[in-house]
Subunit: 213 residues, 2 copies
DNA sequence: ACTTCCGTACAAACCAGTCGGTATGGTCGC
DNA sequence: GCGACCATACCGACTGGTTTGTACGGAAGT
């Protein structure tokens, strides 16, 4: 005879854990992992250390969790983007590139990659973080590789390069574009870089009316 | 008058400042800027805080100085590399790319870029560091752009892309390649990325035996 | 003797993580 | 329908170890 239905055994209250993760994502993208203190995150999330250490057993534990959180957010973003509906795999791939370019806008912490930021600092000192970043960057690249594979089968079946290698290359260009955007304090360079990447892919699939392998 | 023990070490060692800079370069490339402490650097250099703060007025001041130090080392390295002797500007450009690929080997902190590492963490919180990284990355890119400009004048005078933009793109690819190398814990991906970059440049210049702009 | 160079000792702030405590709500026996 | 009991969520003062930067002293070269 429960008056208020509680379908799952979870009590209620606005999810403090999710707030911490969202906040940490922003703050770490702006300041880096090491420079971000637990108090920074708590303050920005409007919570206290008690809440933080209730949900995460250490700062490193949070880092691994945000990596996953960021990746899930990204998968949702790309999974529901309009270019996903394009039937032709090459057009879909180019749609992905254009979409990546389109979302490079606004304040830097909002379009840069948390994984690339964290792995730069932590690859040697925090193996768990490194592994998480590798996993999620690799996972995203694998999704891109699927479209590349399909496009290659259709348009460049004999090409010397592998789909996986090209997919990783796209991620490298994006990561490097973010680094330059940070150095130059604006998104413009980054979009220029993606434009070069697009031209390269067009070349690879001999978009420019020449033939031959 | 103590007969034994000359406790304090004798001076006159070649420039402690240079040792601090060299050491800082290594340590920061391995751990990132925020995570490396002044003591880390002093310990690794076999010096103490007294020496450190004698030469640098703050940690940030050191960061700006290592950025410059790193840049000078890089300019020496590329300035005296064999590819510099190549007469044809396109071959020289490709020689640069091959050289970049060749030096991607060994432990990660030895081939990655200090500037890219630092600017990722510090772009928002340490303007002086950001500016230094921007300056030296831009300076190196400008050198590359010179060769690109010459190659373009010879082989692709009407091309739509600018030499400067392509030069920045090469740096983006390298920076991104380093990020992936860190994530994957080895240099192989990075070299793969540079191979894609080389192919792109070949495409841009002559490879597509069709004419057309 | 004066400056440059560098070591030791110390100060003050900072930071990850701990711990005792409170508030809320759910469960179960009766 | 009620009270005892307990789990979960969260708070915030506190601790112990770091960390940047300062003060000062002594050795060496000039």
């Amino acid at each position: 005879m429960a008056i208020s239905a509680a379908p799952t055994r979870r009590p209620a209250l606005p999810d403090a854990r999710a707030r911490l993760l969202d906040t940490a994502m922003q703050v770490i993208r702006a300041q880096g992992y090491s420079a971000t203190t637990v108090d920074d995150i708590c303050r920005a999330a409007g919570l206290t250390k008690g809440a933080f250490f209730h949900y995460f057993k250490s700062k490193e534990d949070l880092a691994v969790a945000v990596a996953r959180h960021f990746s899930e957010m990204a998968e949702r973003l790309f999974g529901t983007a309009p270019y996903r509906e394009i039937a032709d795999p090459l057009d879909r791939l180019l749609g992905y590139i254009d979409f990546r370019s389109a979302i490079i806008a606004g304040p830097i912490p909002e379009f840069t990659c948390l994984l690339g930021t964290m792995v730069q600092e932590a690859y040697d000192t925090h193996p768990a973080i490194r592994r998480a970043c590798e996993t999620y960057i690799g996972g995203h690249a694998a999704g891109v590789a699927k479209d590349i594979e399909a496009a290659k089968a259709l348009y460049a079946p004999e090409a010397a390069w592998s789909a996986e290698s090209l997919a990783l290359y796209t991620q490298a260009v994006l990561q490097g574009a973010f680094v330059l955007a940070k150095a130059k304090h604006g998104p413009d360079v980054a979009r220029d870089c993606v434009a070069h990447l697009r031209r390269y892919i067009e070349f690879l699939f001999h978009r420019p009316l020449s033939k031959e392998e």
